[in-house]
C-alpha cells in the first residue's frame, strides 16, 4: 500500500479507527444525561433518508441509521461503520473493513451483507443513488466484515458520498423481500446508531432515546433527543428565546431576526458543520426562450447584477458572492476569478439596444415573467430584488409564484418559463451536484433539478464527463476550472451567491457540529451542561 502523498498522483487512502475527535480541555468533560430538543421547520414524511433527501428527513435519519464513514470539515473521511478503507491505484476497486461487534437495535449483527444490500437499494430508489453509485458494477462480500466495490470506471467522488445521511446502511433482514418504499421501517426505523427510535406523534414531535448498546460504549451522552416541528419562523425565534428549543440548523429563524437573537446571552451561533452541502443560488435562463436565446440579453442582465447588494439586502450579510456554480466552500474546485461581466448598467442598456429591445413608451423594453423556487425564504426576496434591479434597465419583471409541485412541473416538465431563480446544492463534489445542471445528457423533461436551461456545449460535456472519472486530482481540478470559465462566458445561468447557514443552539449544547454535515450526522458526541 502506498502512503498518501499529494505530490505523487496516486492516492491510496488508509482510514484509521476512531481518533480522539476534539481537543477537549480537562475542564469541559462531557456530562452524561439530559434531553436535547431539536427544532425543525417541517415534519419529515419518513425517518430514513432512503427514498428522499428532503432536509427534514436528513436531519433525523443519521441518529438511527449510520453510514460507512463520516467526514471532517474539509470532507476528509473518518471511520464510522467502516474502520479502514483503501482505493486501488486505478480507482476501480474500493475495499472497506467493517467495524466488528456492531448490532442493529433489534440485536441482529451488522455485516457486509447489509452494506451490499444497502448499496443495491440506494442505486434503485435513492434520489441520487443511481448516479452516485452508477459506476459500481459489483459488490463483493468475501467475509462478514469486508466489502469490496468493483467499479466499471473510476468515481473520484464516491469516497465522499458515504456519510450516514447520503448513503444510509439499512438492515437487510428488515428490507429484503419487501417493497422498500412501503416498508414500515421508514416510520419506526432500526439501525446501528447512537439513538433508538422511541415515538413519532404526527404533527407534533419525534422522540429518540439513548442506545445503551451502541458500538462505542462511552457514547452517546444525552439520554434523549426530541424533535419538534414549527412551520412558523417567528414561533421558532420565540422557541429559541424561551429555551423550548435547544438547537436548529440551516438558519432556522428569519434572517432579519438574527441581529436581535445574537445579542441574547443564552444562544450560540455555529457556522461549522455546513460543509457537506454548499448551496448556490443562481438565475437560470431558458435557452429556448425567444428572449434569452440571445446571448446579448443574457450578458446585459449579467451586467446589472450587484451581488454585494444581494448579500446585504437579501441575505442580511449571511452569504458569499460566487461567480461560479461551484461554491466557494469547495475550495479546491472553486474558481474565485470574477465574472467577465462587471456591474455596468450603461453597458447593459447598450447591449439590450443592440439585441433589438429599445426602450418603449413607458420606459419598458419588454415584460417577462420570473419564476422562483419557493423552497426557502430568501428566494422570494431575491425575486423582488431582481425585479427592482432589472427594472432599472427597462426590463419589466412580473414575478410568478407557485407552490413547490407546481413550480417543478412548470420548469422541468412543461418548460414553460423564461428565466428563474433557483438553488442547487453542490453536495460534496461538483460531479454530483453541479454536472447535472450543465450536462447536455441530463436535459430530461420531467426530472427536477436537471439541466433546466437546455444548455448544450460539447466542450463542456467532455470536461464534465472527463472530470467524473479522473483520478488525478490536479487534472480534475484543471477540468473544472476550464468548465467554470466557459459557463461564466456563455451564461446559461448567472451564479449569484452561496448562502451561509447558521446552526443556532442554546449555550448548554456542545459538540453538536463536529463533522462536515454537522447536525445531520449521528450526533453521537453531543452533550449538555447539567441544568
Amino acid at each position: 500500500m502506498m502512503t498518501t502523498n499529494r505530490a505523487t498522483r496516486r492516492a491510496t487512502l488508509i482510514g484509521l479507527s476512531t481518533l480522539p475527535w476534539t481537543l477537549r480541555g480537562a475542564l469541559a468533560a462531557p456530562k452524561a444525561g439530559g434531553t436535547l430538543t431539536f427544532m425543525q421547520n417541517n415534519e419529515p414524511q419518513t425517518l430514513v433518508a432512503l427514498t428522499t433527501v428532503a432536509t427534514p428527513a436528513l436531519t433525523v435519519s443519521a441518529k438511527v441509521t449510520e453510514g460507512l464513514l463520516e467526514y471532517d470539515y474539509d470532507i476528509k473521511p473518518r471511520a464510522q461503520l467502516a474502520t479502514e478503507w483503501t482505493i486501488s491505484p486505478d480507482g476501480k476497486t474500493y475495499t472497506f473493513k467493517l467495524r466488528p461487534n456492531v448490532k442493529f437495535h433489534d440485536g441482529k449483527p451488522f455485516t457486509s451483507a447489509d452494506v451490499a444490500y444497502s448499496i443495491q437499494l440506494l442505486k434503485t430508489i435513492h434520489p441520487r443513488g443511481r448516479n452516485t453509485f452508477a459506476n459500481v458494477s459489483e459488490v463483493k462480500t468475501p467475509d462478514p466484515l469486508m466489502v469490496i466495490l468493483e467499479l466499471s470506471k473510476p468515481a473520484p467522488y464516491l469516497i465522499k458520498a458515504l456519510t450516514a445521511a447520503e448513503a444510509p446502511m439499512m438492515p437487510r433482514h428488515i428490507y429484503e423481500g419487501t417493497d422498500p418504499l412501503a416498508n414500515p421501517n421508514g416510520n419506526a426505523p432500526i439501525g446501528t446508531g447512537p439513538y433508538k427510535f422511541k415515538e413519532w406523534a404526527r404533527g407534533s414531535h419525534i422522540i429518540y432515546e439513548r442506545n445503551p448498546d451502541y458500538w462505542d460504549k462511552s457514547l452517546p451522552y444525552v439520554d434523549r433527543i426530541v424533535c419538534k416541528f414549527l412551520p412558523d419562523p417567528g414561533a421558532r425565534s420565540i422557541a429559541f428565546e424561551n429555551g423550548s428549543a435547544d438547537i436548529g440548523y440551516r438558519t432556522p429563524v428569519a434572517l432579519s431576526d438574527l441581529e436581535r437573537l445574537k445579542k441574547l446571552p443564552n444562544l450560540r451561533f455555529e457556522t461549522k458543520g455546513t460543509s457537506y452541502s454548499y448551496n448556490v443560488s443562481s438565475l437560470q435562463f431558458n435557452l429556448d426562450s425567444p428572449i434569452f436565446k440571445n446571448l446579448k440579453v443574457r450578458q446585459a442582465i449579467a451586467h446589472t447584477i450587484d451581488r454585494a447588494a444581494i448579500i446585504k439586502t437579501v441575505c442580511y450579510g449571511y452569504g458569499t458572492v460566487t461567480y461560479s456554480p461551484i461554491a466557494p466552500g469547495l475550495k479546491e474546485f472553486h474558481d474565485p476569478s470574477p465574472s467577465p461581466y462587471n456591474l455596468d448598467l450603461k453597458k447593459a442598456a447598450q447591449l439590450l439596444d443592440e439585441a433589438g429591445y429599445p426602450v418603449g413608451a413607458n420606459k419598458i423594453r419588454f415584460r417577462v415573467p420570473l419564476d422562483y423556487n419557493p423552497i426557502g425564504d430568501e428566494s422570494k426576496r431575491l425575486a423582488e430584488f431582481m425585479r427592482a434591479t432589472l427594472g432599472r434597465v427597462g426590463i419589466g419583471v412580473d414575478i410568478r409564484a407557485a407552490d413547490a409541485s407546481a413550480f417543478v412541473k412548470r420548469i422541468y416538465t412543461d418548460r414553460d418559463f423564461d428565466f428563474l431563480l433557483n438553488g442547487h446544492s453542490n453536495l460534496f463534489d461538483p460531479t454530483v451536484g453541479v454536472q447535472r445542471i450543465y450536462w447536455s445528457k441530463n436535459f430530461k423533461k420531467g426530472v427536477p433539478f436537471s439541466n433546466a436551461s437546455d444548455y448544450n456545449n460539447p466542450k463542456v460535456d467532455a470536461l464534465l464527463e472527463g472530470a467524473a472519472v479522473e483520478i488525478d486530482p490536479a487534472k480534475r481540478i484543471a477540468m473544472f476550472m476550464e468548465f467554470q470559465k466557459i459557463v461564466g462566458q456563455e451564461l446559461p445561468d448567472v451564479s449569484l451567491y452561496s448562502p451561509l447557514y447558521l446552526t443556532i443552539k442554546n449555550v448548554r449544547v456542545h459538540d453538536d457540529s463536529l463533522t462536515a454535515d454537522g447536525v445531520e450526522g449521528n450526533m453521537s458526541r453531543v452533550y449538555l451542561d447539567p441544568q
Binding site: T35, T37, Q45, T46, T51, T52, V53, A54, T124, I125, H126, P127, R128, R130, N131, L181, A182, P184, G186, N187, A201, R202, G203, S204, H205, I207, R224, V226, K228, F229, L230, P231, D232, G234, A235, I238, A239, E241, N242, S244, N373, I375, A402, A404, S405, A406, F407, V408, K409, R410, T413, G423, H424, S425, K444, G446, V447, P448, F449, S450
Partner: protein, 328 residues
C-alpha cells in the same frame, strides 16, 4: 316518546341525505384536485432538491399516479365502499391512522374555541340586549365589531407577542410540553396553557358573531307577545330574560354555530400553522401542497361528516328548544 320518534326521523333523513351528498363531494373534489398542476412525485423531488428519471418513476408507480384518472377514482371509491379510507404513500400510513393522529387535536381546539365563543358571545350579547340603547350596549357593540373585523391570526400574533414573548405567561407553540411526561393536574394545566391562545385566536371572530346574534334575537323576542304575558304574570325580569328570551335566541345562534362548524376546520388552518398545533387543518394544507390526495380526500370526507352530523344535532336541539318546530 315523541323525542325518540324525532331522533329516529332526523337520523333517517340525515342518512338518506348524506349518502349521495358524500359521494358527490368525493367525486367533485377528486376531479377538482386533478386540475392542480404537479403531483406528489414532483413535490418529493422538489423537497429533495434532486431526482432521477428512475426515482420519479418509482414514486409515481408507488402512488398509483401512472394509472388513468378514472382508474384512480374507481380505486378510491372501491376502497371507500369497503370502509377503507385508503393509504397515503407519502406518509406510509393508512389515511385513517394519519387522520387519527390529528383529529383529537382539532376536536379539542374546535370544541374549546366554539364553547368559548358561544359562552362569551351569549353572555356579552345578553348584556348588550339587557342594556339595549344605553352606553354599555354602545361600547360593547363597538368592541364586538372591532373583534369581528380583526383577522383571527392577527389577534393570535398580537396575543403571542403580549402573553408569550413579553409577559412569558403562556407558551407560544405546540399542544403540550414534549417529553416532559407530566401527570395529573400538571398535565391538565400544561395542555390548557397551550390551548388558550390558539383557541382565543380562533374564537375571536365567532364571539362577535354570536354576541350580535344573541342581542338581535333577544331584542326581537322581547317585543313579542308572550314576553309581555310573562311579565304580566309577575315573573322577575331577569328570570324572564334567562328562560324565555335566551331560549328563543339560542335557535339562530345554534344554527349559525352549526354552519360555522364546517368552516371552523378550514379557519383553523391559519391558526394551527401559526401555533404549530397538530390539527387536521394543517394536515389538509400540507396535503394540498404535497399533492397527497388520499389524505386530502379523507380530511374533506371527515369534515363533511362532521357538518352533516352537526346539522342533524342542531335540528334536534331546535326541537328541544322550541317544540313548535316540527320535522322540517
Amino acid at each position: 316518546m315523541r323525542m325518540y320518534r324525532r331522533i329516529g326521523a332526523t337520523l333517517k333523513r340525515t342518512a338518506i341525505h348524506a349518502g349521495p351528498t358524500i359521494l358527490g363531494i368525493i367525486v367533485l373534489d377528486f376531479l377538482l384536485l386533478q386540475l392542480v398542476p404537479g403531483d406528489a412525485a414532483d413535490m418529493i423531488a422538489s423537497e429533495s432538491g434532486s431526482a432521477t428519471a428512475e426515482s420519479m418513476a418509482a414514486i409515481r408507480q408507488r402512488f398509483g399516479l401512472d394509472q388513468s384518472v378514472l382508474n384512480q377514482l374507481l380505486n378510491f371509491l372501491g376502497h371507500l365502499a369497503q370502509g377503507d379510507l385508503g393509504f397515503s404513500p407519502r406518509y406510509n400510513m393508512s389515511v385513517f391512522d394519519m387522520i387519527m393522529t390529528r383529529l383529537p387535536g382539532t376536536l379539542l381546539l374546535m370544541a374549546t374555541a366554539l364553547s368559548l365563543a358561544l359562552l362569551l358571545g351569549i353572555i356579552v350579547g345578553s348584556v348588550m340586549a339587557a342594556w339595549a340603547g344605553r352606553w354599555p350596549d354602545r361600547v360593547l357593540s363597538v368592541v364586538v365589531l372591532v373583534f369581528y373585523s380583526m383577522p383571527g391570526f392577527w389577534v393570535g400574533l398580537m396575543a403571542v407577542v403580549l402573553f408569550s414573548v413579553n409577559l412569558g405567561w403562556l407558551p407560544s407553540d405546540g399542544s403540550m410540553t414534549v417529553g416532559a411526561n407530566l401527570t395529573g393536574w400538571a398535565f391538565v394545566w400544561d395542555r390548557l396553557s397551550h390551548l388558550i391562545l390558539p383557541a382565543l385566536a380562533l374564537a375571536s371572530f365567532f364571539i362577535a358573531v354570536y354576541a350580535r346574534l344573541t342581542r338581535a334575537a333577544m331584542l326581537e323576542v322581547q317585543r313579542q307577545d308572550f314576553m309581555r304575558t310573562a311579565a304580566a304574570k309577575g315573573l322577575h325580569p331577569f328570570f324572564i330574560q334567562l328562560h324565555h328570551a335566551l331560549r328563543n335566541a339560542l335557535i339562530p345562534v345554534t344554527t349559525v354555530a352549526g354552519m360555522h362548524l364546517g368552516n371552523l376546520l378550514g379557519g383553523a388552518v391559519v391558526v394551527e400553522t401559526l401555533f404549530g398545533w397538530p390539527g387536521m387543518g394543517r394536515l389538509a394544507l400540507e396535503a394540498v401542497l404535497a399533492r397527497d390526495f388520499s389524505v386530502l380526500l379523507g380530511v374533506l370526507l371527515l369534515s363533511s361528516f362532521l357538518v352533516i352530523l352537526a346539522n342533524a344535532a342542531i335540528d334536534l336541539l331546535h326541537a328541544w328548544l322550541d317544540p313548535r318546530i316540527g320535522p322540517a
